[in-house]
Every structure is written in structure tokens, then in C-alpha cells.
């Protein structure tokens, strides 16, 4: 069996005043897409930076590919996109991209050739000789993304790769990530957007306040979380539903989105009873479906609303 792409082993990191990561352990198997989830400030970036040996753990260790080597010595196998993006503003786009490949060990000519190919792929070939500062923020993000992948790394670590991207660019990057995973390589990305992780990831780890809360394949995590979950879609007279949804004998937890809602039935309550009650009150429904729990609801249940609310405000 292949050794795990990443093995985080009892890692602890303290900063002045607080502990960012507390004896965290998990494994990222080789191949596939792995999601490192958690609210802002949970310790995702700190964990990733320890994987890249940018900061050293106070306790424990991180092992990549089962090798006891510094990531800098195997940097040709690693692609890393930091959370805080940045490029040399005065450099020409093509040269900059080639430079990012060169520091990963590519030869000068090879780096330049690959940089050209990537610019074409991203639709930026007309910008190759422009300066980085002339590019829009989205374009700069794409260039940096390409710089992470230029040398065909076996393990790609992306810290919040989709933040700040418009839907078109986010789609493009998603396609690239999926393609890397298909070719048998490993992608690890961090995010606090659960929908994205749910759609893309084979496996996830959720951390909160530096500690692991959930670990496993997405289906496994959902099965373990269990419970009867129901998704609702409202058309009219939603206000009539308020009393029923607040009834603790029927509904255990509620995640209200306004025009739709996701809820977990109380123990002993049946979907029929809930549907019957809603119809009796004259609530207009266009959806009533028994579903698997969404990652979002698992996340909220495990991490707690308190941790999520400031995260969302910050993200906005």
C-alpha cells in the first residue's frame, strides 16, 4: 500500500497567548481530494504551514509521502498555494510563472514552455508579456494557481483556493483540481465553505479551535452522523410553519434559509407526522424530501453556531 501523502502526527502549535493546534492527528491518503474544513481561526492555515515546514510544530511531526525529509528537499513533488496570495508586481507574467517553476526545480527552458502552455489553458496568453500589476485580481489568482501546478506536483496543497474568485473562475479551478485527482495525484484544500467540500471531497477532516472534530470519507461521516434529515422548500404561507418547526417533539434542530430549510427530526417523530402537520396549517411546499445530512448541518452541529457566525461575517 502506498504511504499516506500526508501524515499529521500529534501536532501541537502554540503562539503567544493561545494554542492554535492541539495534538492534531490525521492522514491524507495518496490520490483523491481531501478537504480540511473548519471555521476561520480553527487552525487550518497553521496546520498547512506546518505541513510545508514554514512553521515548526512545538510537538509532534508531519510526514509527507512517508519520507522523513523536509518539504524543501522534495519541493519538486509539492505544490503550495498560500492563503495570502502575492506575486512580484513588476515582473512580466510569463517570466513570473516560469520563475515559480524554477524555484521548484524545473529547468529554465522547461519552465518557460510549461508557463506558456498554462497561460494558454487559462486564456491568458495575450497577457504573457504584460506586467503582473496590469492583471486583474482574478487573473493574478489564476497565474498563482498555475504557478502552484506548473511542475506537476504529486501533492497539491491549496489554502482557501476558491476564496475571492468569481463563479466562472471558481468553476475553472474546480475542473483543474478534479482533473489532478483523476490522474491519481493528491489534492488537499482547506475551506470554510461546506457546499464546495461536500461536492468535491473524497475525505474530510473538520477542525475547530485547533482540535479534530470529524474525520473520514464524506459518506462515512454522513452515515455516522445519522438521524432523519428533511429538506423543505416553501412557496407560500411560510409563516404558518413557524409553530410546527419550533415544536421540539417534531423537530430537533432547524437550519432555516428563508425560502428553504433543512431540519433533523426529533427522536420518535416520523416524516409523515411533520408533513401532515404542515399541510394542515396550509403551508405551501414545493419540496419535502428525506435526505442525508448536509456537511453544512453536520458542521454546524459539531462545531456549534457560535464558531460559525463570526466566520461568515468575516468572510463577507
Amino acid at each position: 500500500m502506498n504511504p499516506a501523502a500526508v501524515r499529521v502526527d500529534q501536532v501541537t502549535k502554540r503562539f503567544a497567548g493561545h494554542t492554535a493546534v492541539k495534538s492534531l492527528s490525521f492522514e491524507v491518503p495518496a490520490g483523491g481530494i481531501f478537504g480540511l474544513l473548519g471555521p476561520n481561526g480553527a487552525g487550518k492555515s497553521t496546520t498547512i504551514r506546518m505541513m510545508m515546514d514554514i512553521i515548526e510544530p512545538d510537538e509532534g511531526k508531519v510526514v509527507l509521502f512517508g519520507l522523513e525529509k523536509s518539504p524543501r528537499d522534495i519541493s519538486e513533488r509539492l505544490g503550495y498555494l498560500p492563503e495570502e496570495r502575492g506575486l512580484y508586481k513588476k515582473m512580466k507574467v510569463l517570466e513570473h510563472l516560469a520563475f515559480l517553476g524554477e524555484v521548484k526545480g524545473l529547468g529554465v527552458a522547461d519552465a518557460k514552455r510549461r508557463a506558456g502552455q498554462w497561460l494558454e489553458r487559462l486564456g491568458l496568453q495575450d497577457w504573457a508579456q504584460k506586467k503582473v500589476e496590469d492583471l486583474s485580481k482574478g487573473m493574478q489568482q489564476k497565474v498563482q494557481f498555475a504557478g502552484t501546478l506548473l511542475h506537476d506536483p504529486d501533492l497539491v496543497i491549496l489554502d482557501e483556493p476558491f476564496s475571492g474568485l468569481d463563479p466562472v473562475n471558481a468553476q475553472m479551478m474546480k475542473d483543474i483540481v478534479v482533473e489532478i485527482a483523476k490522474s491519481g495525484r493528491t489534492v488537499l484544500f482547506s475551506t470554510h465553505i461546506m457546499e464546495q467540500a461536500e461536492k468535491m471531497c473524497d475525505r474530510i477532516v473538520i477542525i475547530a479551535r485547533g482540535e479534530k472534530v470529524v474525520d473520514g470519507s464524506v459518506s462515512q461521516v454522513k452515515a455516522e452522523f445519522g438521524g432523519n434529515h428533511i429538506a423543505l422548500g416553501f412557496t407560500h404561507d411560510k409563516e404558518n410553519a413557524a409553530r410546527i418547526l419550533a415544536d421540539r417533539r417534531l423537530v430537533a434542530t432547524l437550519d432555516d434559509y428563508g425560502a428553504s430549510a433543512e431540519l433533523e427530526l426529533a427522536a420518535g417523530a416520523s416524516p409523515d407526522a411533520l408533513l401532515g402537520a404542515l399541510v394542515r396549517e396550509g403551508v405551501g411546499l414545493n419540496r419535502f424530501e428525506v435526505v442525508e445530512p448536509s456537511l453544512q448541518s453536520i458542521f454546524i452541529a459539531k462545531v456549534g453556531n457560535a464558531a460559525v457566525v463570526p466566520a461568515i461575517t468575516e468572510a463577507a
Partner: protein, 438 residues
């Protein structure tokens, strides 16, 4: 190693391509050629034979004496050189003003208009002996050099005449008024170099100034560039791909090579301008002779090499320090407090150069050319002013290189931790701890 090379290449290309670099690199050589050629071009008028008309209103031999004195003046010390003046003496016989005006009418007109034209009219009268008054009306009256020479020659004749009138032996007079001529020549390593003392001083001063300025400017560029990498957050990508020491080395060498390129272009132009005067003169249609009076002294080859070696040594030493300062700060403003300390050391070195210039073989000069952080300024200056033995040079270089290695190691330790620290600026105590941590 390839990664370090990639960083060196990036730094070099990014810098050389800027407009500021291009302009500053080209402007100095152009200035040098300008300074070398323009005075010679302007003096061209003074270095051809002048057509002088002399109105002789004297009753005695003064007029003819002046004529023969002026006829004896040559354009240069070379015995075969052409005469400075072509003199045409017109005896006035009482009609000084009329003759003068008719000759002035022929002065400064082009040869095509009139075959016989003059550059100036000299008027000598009977009262000249008593009053010392000689009129000169000419086209070249604003040339200090021409006027000075004319005045000198005539006053020598006048002094001789006056002394002879008072009964002194003309032979004694001639020997008494011969001026002294101090011919100071610099001696280096037992050999005369052909440079005058003033010239050596000018080179030494110019070099010290250039070394000081370039190390400060390029050193601060290193610092700014580290800050830029920190603020643009490109640092994290670099730090995950290579060791901090590789980054530091690449950056300092890259910026240093940019500086070395500029210094080589500057020093090389200077070297060529001063050593290839003849060719340069030919290029501008000047006689090689005219260029000999070039106001800038020649730079010996060995001095050029010493200059460039010590520039690199000095820059790397201070560049590493400036880079370390950049790494512990987040903004340019924050760096000032630390950078001032480093710049002070450099300035102290620059000021000490003046003391060394006064007495290049004295105790202070010899000592300072071995003291790290001073030697990179003092040694080239001493080399240009006095004879320095190769053993002394080797010793100074050895100490310099040892210091460089130590400083780079120290800077590397600070850099390693500093580049990834954001937020609060560390205290001196913290920086000290980073250095100690293995």
C-alpha cells in the same frame, strides 16, 4: 543551487530592466566623455597659432623685445611644437589710434572675407614701461588661459626692461626671474607612476564617494526588496520551496551583481576614457595633444580591479545586513531605526577616508584597512594613494571575507525567522534569541 541561480537571475533581470538603472548607468559614462572631451573642444581655439597684430608706439626697443618674446612661445613644451603667436608688428610713428582702429577692423573677420585677418590687436606705447598698461583688443579675450599667457609673457619683458633700466646685468635678471617648477610625481611600489599628487587625491576621493554611495543605495535596495516580498506574500511560496539561506544568498548576490555590473560599466568607462585618450580624441576630431590636458587623471588597471573587488566585498557585507533588517520589519518606515545604525557605520568609514587621505601610510590608514566594515572603503583609497604591499592586500581581503561569511551566517539566522514574522516588530532580545536558536 539551481534555485539560488533562479533567484539571482530574477533579481538581476528585475533590476537591470528598470528605467532608473538604465538612466543612471548610462548617464555617468556620457558625463565622463563629456568632461573629457568638452574642455579640449573648447580649448581648441587656444591651442592654435594666434594671428596677432601689434601696434608699436614705442620709441625704444620695447616693441621689438615683446615681439621676440612672443615669437619664442610655443603651443606646448614639445620642442617641435608650432609657435603660439604669429606676430605682425606695425610701427605707429605717432598715429597709434588710427593704426589701431584700421587693424581692429580686420580682426575677427573670416578668412574668406579678407585674406589677412587677425585674432587680436596688441597696443604698446611709450608709457607702457612706466604704467604697465598694454591694450589688447581680440576675439579670445574671455579665454583666461590665453590672456594669462599673453600677460605673463609681456610682463616678463617689462620686468626685464625695468630692471635693465635701473642698471642690473641682464644675465642676472634673466636667471633671477626664472620661475620654479615643482614637478610632483607619485611613487608606488618603488616605481614612479606618472600621476601627480592632486590627481591621486581626486581619484581616491571619487572612488570613496562612489563606494560609499553605491553600497548604501544597493544595500537599501536589498532591504526594500525583502520588505516587498513580505508584503506581497510571495515569501511564503519561496520559503516552502527553498531554504531561507538560499533565498538570502540569491537576493544579495542578485542585487550585488546588478551593482557590480553598474560599477564595471562606470569604472570601465573611466578606465577607457583615461587610458585611450588618443582614440577618444580622434573620435571627436581633436588632436591627441589637446586631450593630454584632460582634467581627469588616469586610473591604473590594478586600481580598477581592487576597486571592483572591494565594492563586491563591501556590498555583500552590508547587503546581508540590510536584508536581515528587511526581514524583521514589515514596512519601510519600520526599517529606519535599524538601517540608521548600519548606515552610520558606513558613514563613519567614509569620514575616516578623509583622515586616511591625509596620511595614507600612517597608523590609522594601515589599521583601518584591516578593520572589517571599514576596509572596503579604506583599502581602495590607500591603494590609489600609496604603495600597499600585496601581503597587506591579501590580509585585508582574508579578514574581509571571513567577516563576510560570519555576517552572512548571522544574517541568515535572523532572516530565516524574520521573513515569516508578520505583525509586531521583534525586540533586540528576540532577534538575539533567533540567532542563538540552532
Amino acid at each position: 543551487m539551481n534555485k539560488t541561480l533562479a533567484v539571482i537571475r530574477r533579481e538581476l533581470v528585475a533590476r537591470v530592466r528598470t528605467r532608473a538603472f538604465l538612466i543612471s548607468t548610462l548617464i555617468l559614462p556620457i558625463l565622463m566623455v563629456f568632461v573629457a572631451v568638452v574642455p579640449a573642444l573648447m580649448m581648441r581655439g587656444g591651442s592654435r597659432t594666434m594671428q596677432i597684430a601689434m601696434v608699436d608706439g614705442t620709441g625704444d626697443s620695447l616693441g621689438s623685445r615683446i615681439e621676440s618674446a612672443l615669437a619664442g612661445e610655443k603651443l606646448s613644451r614639445d620642442p617641435g611644437a608650432p609657435t603660439r603667436y604669429a606676430l605682425h608688428r606695425f610701427v605707429a610713428a605717432g598715429r597709434v589710434a588710427v593704426l589701431r582702429d584700421s587693424l581692429v577692423a580686420l580682426t575677427g573677420v573670416s578668412r574668406e572675407q579678407h585674406p589677412q585677418s587677425f585674432d587680436g590687436v596688441l597696443v604698446v606705447t611709450d608709457s607702457t614701461i612706466a604704467t604697465g598698461k598694454v591694450d589688447y583688443l581680440g576675439t579670445n579675450t574671455s579665454s583666461f588661459e590665453s590672456m594669462g599667457q599673453l600677460e605673463g609673457t609681456i610682463s616678463k619683458v617689462l620686468v626685464q626692461m625695468r630692471l635693465a633700466h635701473s642698471g642690473l646685468d641682464p644675465a642676472i635678471v634673466a636667471s633671477a626671474i626664472r620661475p620654479i617648477n615643482l614637478n610632483a610625481t607619485k611613487v608606488s611600489d618603488g616605481k614612479a607612476t606618472g600621476q601627480s599628487g592632486v590627481q591621486s587625491f581626486a581619484i581616491a576621493y571619487f572612488m570613496a564617494f562612489l563606494l560609499y554611495l553605491s553600497v548604501v543605495l544597493y544595500g537599501q535596495q536589498t532591504m526594500t526588496s525583502v520588505i516587498e516580498e513580505k508584503t506581497s506574500r510571495i515569501m511564503e511560496v519561496l520559503a516552502s520551496s527553498m531554504r531561507p539561506f538560499q533565498m538570502l544568498l540569491g537576493k544579495v548576490l542578485g542585487v550585488g551583481l546588478t551593482g557590480l555590473l553598474q560599477m564595471t560599466i562606470w569604472g570601465g568607462t573611466y578606465y577607457l576614457v583615461t587610458s585611450q585618450r588618443g582614440r577618444l580624441a580622434g573620435l571627436f576630431g581633436l588632436s591627441a595633444d589637446a586631450m593630454q590636458s584632460l582634467p581627469i587623471p588616469a586610473m591604473p588597471t590594478d586600481l580598477l580591479v581592487v576597486f571592483l573587488v572591494y565594492f563586491m566585498l563591501g556590498f555583500l557585507l552590508f547587503g546581508a545586513l540590510y536584508a536581515a533588517i528587511g526581514s524583521i520589519c514589515n514596512t519601510i518606515q519600520e526599517t529606519q531605526q535599524y538601517a540608521v545604525a548600519v548606515t552610520m557605520v558606513l558613514m563613519l568609514g567614509f569620514f575616516s577616508v578623509f583622515a586616511v587621505m591625509k596620511d595614507p601610510t600612517g597608523g590609522l590608514g594601515v589599521t583601518l584597512s584591516f578593520v572589517p566594515f571599514f576596509s572596503q572603503l579604506v583599502m581602495p583609497v590607500r591603494w590609489s594613494l600609496a604603495a600597499v604591499s600585496p601581503i597587506e592586500l591579501a590580509g585585508s581581503l582574508a579578514i574581509g571575507i571571513a567577516t563576510l561569511l560570519g555576517t552572512t551566517w548571522l544574517a541568515g539566522r535572523i532572516y530565516r525567522t524574520g521573513i515569516l514574522m508578520y505583525g509586531k516588530k521583534p525586540t533586540f532580545g528576540e532577534v538575539f534569541r533567533w540567532i542563538r536558536q540552532g
